[in-house]
Amino acid sequence: MNNPGLRYLGAALIVLVGVWAGLKFHSVRSGEGPVVAVPAGMASAPDPRENSAGDEVPHPVVPAHLPDFSLDDLSGKPTSISSWRGKSLVINFWATWCAPCRREIPLLKTLAADWAGRDLTVVGIAVDHADKVREFAGEFKIDYPVLIGEEDALEAAAKFGMDSPALPFTVFTDRRGEVVALFVGELHRPQADFILSEVQNLNQERIALPEARRAIADGLEAMAEKKAG
């Protein structure tokens, strides 16, 4: 290698190999996706394309009045929630795959029977496939009106501020269509009776709406504390 030309060529080749190796490793590295710090207990980073809903607190808005929406009933007939205008409503969002929702059905049937003739209607809203709901409604002999939907039922849930709905949840309205309470989770008889007694007080104008809402909040809080205590 005494020829200076060959030496330069050799050096250039070595440098080129070095550059190529560097680029190769760089491409492998960038191909592995972004390197993002992850919280303890997590094995990898979340997809950066998604909103990291994680610990952020969404702020859904619960409407003061019953919003309007229309869904198919069990026979496939489009039915508006305003069909029951003038009645107090217990609107129960549920699904057949949800165990606590299934556990609630007997209570809802009992409420519908107990309050029959007193201007109160229980309406089930199944966020589910229609065939599964029909089969289930037959098997469990659901005798109150049930509306069914998939995307459109999710949209109805979103109108109550439940944008990413957890099920079940139940909305209580008075006969004027004011939303009195929105109860998330499995409903039990004492809570249901208590809320409905306040709805009744409201309907009979024994108390005003803000008072009823406050009484329900305080009453349920007290029930929870008693249960916990």
């Binding site: 990898s44 699904a95 929105l182 989770g185 409903l187």
Partner: protein, 200 residues
């Protein structure tokens, strides 16, 4: 004031109470009970079920960390390939525990945490970022279920969490040393036969 989920009523009430004015709506995180309360009865789904994935050799390990009082259904866990070159096998899952609900029958569930081991192969040797889609569904013991959750994850390279970590790119240091060595060698080749150009 904090209570365990199981001891708390399943209710979360969003009540407008005295703060509500006619015709206005009350903005409230939905899992909070009452207007003036910071009491949390239910967690948002991404807090109840935290999921991550990690590449470990020729498998992807997907791990869920499940909050106390919450559970995931074994039968509802799915892992699918998301990047075009990726082929994944069915996830290998531990048996879980049996949970019997009179209204839903007996199901296998996971509490606390679960790891799915997913063998994978890639057709293009890594030209695309590795992406998987995970689907899972769970509930709170206190009486609330979340709809199926779908997430796309970029599994990070390296050993699973909890194991002493190694550099994620094991050849990186080799590449740096080799690059430096190449330049040194090139310099030596050029240097050969020359004399130092030092002042007399």
């Amino acid at each position: 004031m904090k209570r365990s989920l199981g001891a708390v009523s399943v209710a979360i009430l969003v009540v407008f109470g005295a703060l509500s004015l006619a015709g206005t709506a009350q903005s409230k995180p939905w899992w909070m009970r009452g207007v003036d309360s910071n009491q949390t009865d239910f967690l948002p789904p991404d807090v109840a079920f935290r999921v991550g994935a990690q590449v470990d050799g020729n498998v992807v390990k997907v791990r869920w960390v499940i909050a106390d009082g919450y559970y995931l259904y074994r039968s509802k866990i799915e892992v699918r390939a998301e990047s075009p070159d990726l082929v994944v096998a069915a996830p290998q899952l531990p048996p879980g525990v049996l949970k019997t609900d009179p209204y839903l029958g007996t199901q296998r569930i996971y509490t606390q945490q679960v790891e799915a081991v997913v063998p994978y192969s890639r057709l293009d040797a890594g030209a695309h970022p590795l992406q998987i889609k995970v689907i899972y569904q769970g509930c709170a013991e206190a009486g609330l279920c979340y709809p199926p959750i779908t997430k796309v994850l970029f599994p990070a390279a390296g050993p699973p969490a909890g194991v002493a970590s190694e550099p994620p790119y094991p050849f990186e240091s080799t590449a740096i040393i080799a690059g430096a060595g190449a330049f040194l060698l090139a310099g030596l080749v050029l240097r050969k036969g020359r004399k130092l150009d030092t002042p007399a």
